[in-house]
Symmetry: C2
Subunit: 93 residues, 2 copies
DNA sequence: AAATCTTACGGGTGACGTAACGATC
DNA sequence: GATCGTTACGTCACCCGTAAGATTT
């Protein structure tokens, strides 16, 4: 598993397009497209249905998103906690 | 942030040694040692105190571990969920 | 034709294992 | 001297951006 892939998935899920997700992530479209494809291959699930020029989230994608968001939130919290600890340390002097 | 670093941290925390953690992770000792060092550098925190031939978890390390474990559990759950979805799909046929 | 997603390709960064070193039991 | 953790070094895979292709509006 890989955090970047999860972050890309969240961005595409929320924006509904690879282009918008790439903008949010400060990346190019091909890079985001690959991350999604790699994640689908790793999971063995089709998270998005390629219809026309848009990626429509599948039923599996929606089920997966709920859990993925929890994991990403937990990881984000880790960084916050670390910063809090550092700040606390700094105040001790 | 990086999942491998967190997994290495958990393994060292629970086993109390780099060697045991490396065995559990199917990696070499230097690789695990680097992951721990990289994580500490990234967080700006000293997670373990190098005493004698053992790594003793610091106060900061213990505080951080609680949150890290939650994140890792959430990630582990993702994989499980994905497998469940695949299994369910398979049963539909 | 402009926009979107995907695939191909080359370059740079990072991770790993082996080897070597210092310290401890 | 055996074990443990760290550092050095060479190699290899992975990830990204640019370029090119296919499809849609």
């Amino acid at each position: 598993m890989n955090l970047k892939r999860l972050q890309a998935f969240r961005a595409v899920y929320e924006t509904g397009s690879v282009t918008a997700a790439a903008r949010r992530l400060h990346m190019t479209q091909p890079a985001v497209s690959r991350l999604i494809g790699d994640l689908e291959k790793e999971l063995g699930l089709q998270l998005f249905a390629r219809q026309r020029q848009r990626l429509v989230c599948t039923e599996d994608g929606r089920s997966f998103f709920h859990e993925a968001e929890r994991a990403l939130a937990a990881v984000d919290q880790i960084v916050d906690i670390a910063r809090d600890i550092r700040t606390l340390k700094g105040q001790q002097f």
